[in-house]
Symmetry: C2
Subunit: 516 residues, 2 copies
């Protein structure tokens, strides 16, 4: 593994003496430890230690010994991290976000505890000690300078907090990460703790308020492991007709807001959640007349990179890159220029309510479902099974200038309506949701009472197959119940129950007035 | 009404010429206007214009004409404001908070539209124009200086925004409000709009960053009305055994956090919701060993005033006073000293996520119910009927250092459990709720997965009458469903449905395994 690729990457004498195998380094991690790993949306996670650790765990389990850890990261990692650890039954407790099928399965089988939290809260609450001691940090970096400063990798996430809080540190130096990333990061180390906090002095999406390096107490570093593995780099689906329609509804809305004087001509900093639909919205902006856009988001995806490279977007701030292999190639080929236009920050800053509210982000996030009254479920399938987690959607939606939640109006070939009478899990309440968008249209909920919202959502966003069913529910609820938020309590979740039982939320049109 | 009491209160020549009757002033308000009135938690609301306006509305209705307004305030007002306007069927649309029985009845009968929102969002979103034009502002003040600066009344709320945004302004000068309030307020006028915002420079609860006066374009003032009426000044119930137990659980928790080094010895700024239980917690602190406390809250109630007067609390920040008649007397008798210890601010600042997060508030708010997984309902009775509204609970809970939601474990003589399988309305999700407290005990949910939370809440907070029912639901849900958040979808809201049908959430112990 100590190939030429690592030349110039471990320049600190003391740390170069701590280079060891992943197996040796993983041996520092013991049963019941809390481990803070790097990684955010499949970028910058450790590539070698988790697999080595998983082997140690499996060996321990074979000996009849307990070996599980509490695992904290920035956000999602990849198969080489969450995946292998879950397969080894090595995760006792996990926060704040995950997306690996093996781990998801364990969570939903009750075999691992998952604590789903706002990404902006993780560093603070972990540092205070709400989640116990942090025993060890495992952090991927691009390189180590002669004085021990660390060049961060493709994500920062909570790395600055983990390095500060952990008793011991293991560094993975990944030769696949461009050393040209040096200078793109902005690590703010002065956030402090109450009651001694000052304002975070960030006033523009591209502002720099910190330093381009991570720091740590070098005496805490117990091992340095050399790796040479790419990030997850999943490919995005090309925008389909549905995504394009959603994008065009949002862009029409932007036009209208600008026309009404409620938004500047270059809009406001765009935050875009992860995924194909959100990516399609950014692709839609590429073909819009808007210029001099800015981005203030968690994750820089292909769509935002394209906006930057085309000159449509002047600056973007994120805590992680999450690029397809093609986009990564474009990124690396143009990294010198991009370094002036992209800033990677700790997630406590990218997602901080103070900054999001100040900058006035346009927060565009995907949802699993919303209900008649604009409550949004971002996390749970049929109310009980975890998909991935909340991520930063709440950080942004709550503090947004305007918050959007987007989804196709139906899923599973129409068997699931993404508009339901009552969501089966609440991640964002009616109070945080301004605009709902499906391929059918856009519901502008600002200033509407719940009953008015129901009308707008049914008329504008629901799929035609479900519109009469939703209207019927709403009408009957309005006849029988309190009129602030009409519901039929023993029917509110019946659509989900029907799907669980029959595989379809629909019932025959002639039957539903009687049968529901 | 122009008694001696108003001497020295309207010192501006031009405005003194605009003194008129409430009836004359109310005539500026026309059908379908949006009106921004002062008032927050029954303090500082207009006392005369609403009644005069209500008469105009009734006369118009008698003539067969439409006459309703959109009404925005700081928060709740009183019978003389929301009450009379509702009785006159004069409110078409209302935000952001209300507590008058007449209005509540109309809202729940579907006769008035109520839009329930975070109090920190109102000024920004109204100023941008999300809720349409603001035609007229009606603002109570204590006095008018010779140069036209306004001495605010017992609340600031959104008054600075209303004065700025409205086309026309009516001032009520209330001789009941002490002129000695002058200097207690701190009105910050530099919040700006994205993308040109700077940090809010407030770094301590008692800091002053603005000016002690409200300003307005004097040419917009169309009328000045003299009034002489007290605020609502409701009496608090003396803390009962239940409230005292809740208070003592919280204080024990504080002790433990200090001992563990997770909280400073003088705690952190306390935010306390409105109501008897929250007030009891503050009374409990009076008898605790904690010293040099600070308050950063919306509403200064009796309990916090007592902490200040006893020297236990050094500084308190709020947007409104909400004192009992006795406490108001103590306040006015000591106002000279209190002016150095109490700061009244616009609600956009008291509730601002930036400041709440920076200061690290301990947010203690009442709830209607919470569920097994720590979701909280603050607003809806049995899922459909609005009680008062969300208020600032979300502003504070989301951004708190530690968030607490408190309630007696049962209501209506035990017929309602305040812990239910699933809340019937979600105002605060699991992601924002750290600690649940009832008289039974305290559930510390930090870092717990939903299943772990359920155990903690059942064991520590549920009333013994309901504990077996909750455990039974949880056990059966765990057998049948996804294990991240176990639920039985067609039973999750059955307790509320049973209450609606039978007036009692309980079922006979022997029957519930079959009957539920």
């Amino acid at each position: 593994m100590t190939s030429l690729n690592h030349e110039g990457r471990v320049l600190h004498d003391g740390l170069s003496k701590k280079i060891m195998s992943a197996d040796q380094a993983a041996a520092f991690i013991k049963n019941d430890m809390n481990v803070g790993m790097s990684g955010f949306t499949g970028a910058g996670y450790p590539k070698a230690i988790p697999a080595a650790l998983a082997k140690h765990m499996e060996a321990a389990h074979a000996r009849g010994e307990d070996f599980q850890i509490g695992l904290l990261t920035g956000a999602s990692t990849a198969t080489e991290c969450d995946g292998v650890l879950a397969e080894a039954n090595g995760i006792k407790w996990r926060t704040p976000y995950q997306s690996e099928p093996a781990l998801r399965k364990q969570i939903n089988a009750g075999e691992a505890h998952y604590f789903d939290m706002h990404l902006s809260h993780v560093a603070q609450q972990s540092t205070i000690g709400f989640y116990g001691k942090m025993h060890i940090a495992v952090v991927e970096v691009s390189g180590i300078l002669p004085d021990g400063r660390l060049i961060p990798s493709t994500s920062i996430g909570n790395n600055n907090a983990w390095l500060e809080n952990a008793d011991k540190i293991i560094l993975e130096v990944n030769a696949q990460q461009s050393l040209m990333l040096e200078g793109m990061h902005d690590v703010y180390n002065d956030i402090g703790m109450p009651p001694n906090r000052k304002p975070i002095p960030l006033v523009t999406p591209g502002g720099r308020i910190g330093v381009p390096y991570l720091h740590c107490d070098l005496d805490k570093v117990v091992g340095v492991v050399l790796t040479n593995s790419p990030d997850r780099n999943s490919k995005f689906a090309d925008p389909d007709e549905c995504s394009n329609k959603i994008a065009s509804h949002i862009i029409d809305f932007f036009h209208d807001e600008v026309k009404k004087g409620r938004m500047p001509e270059n809009l406001l900093p765009i935050q875009s959640g992860v995924g194909n639909v959100a990516n399609a919205v950014l692709a839609g902006l590429q073909n819009s007349p808007f210029e001099n856009l800015t981005g203030y988001t968690e994750v820089l995806q292909d769509g935002m990179l394209d906006l930057i490279m085309s000159g449509k977007m002047t600056m973007a701030s994120a805590t992680a890159l999450s690029l397809s292999p093609d986009a990564l190639e474009r990124f690396n080929a143009n990294i010198e220029e991009l370094r002036a236009r992209i800033v990677l920050r700790p997630q406590e800053i990218t997602n901080h309510p103070e900054v999001a509210r100040r900058l006035g982000v346009l927060a565009i996030n995907a949802m699993i479902e919303c209900d008649l009254y604009g409550n949004v479920n971002s996390t749970h399938v049929m109310g009980t099974n975890m998909m991935n987690g909340l991520g930063g959607s709440g950080d942004f939606a709550r503090n947004a200038y305007t918050s959007f939640f987007v989804s196709p109006s139906v899923a599973k070939d129409g068997a699931i309506s993404c508009i339901t009478p009552m969501v089966s899990h609440h991640d964002h309440t009616e109070h945080d949701v301004m605009v709902i968008v499906t391929e059918q249209g856009l519901a502008d909920l600002r200033g509407l009472s719940p009953r008015q919202r129901a009308k707008s959502i049914i008329d504008n966003c629901a799929h035609p197959d479900y519109r009469p069913m939703l209207q019927d529910y709403f009408d009957r609820a309005s006849d029988t119940a309190g009129m602030q938020t009409p519901h039929i309590l023993d029917e509110a979740l019946s659509w989900h129950q029907r799907y669980v039982e029959t595989g379809d939320m629909r019932i025959k049109k002639s039957a539903y007035k009687i049968a529901v």
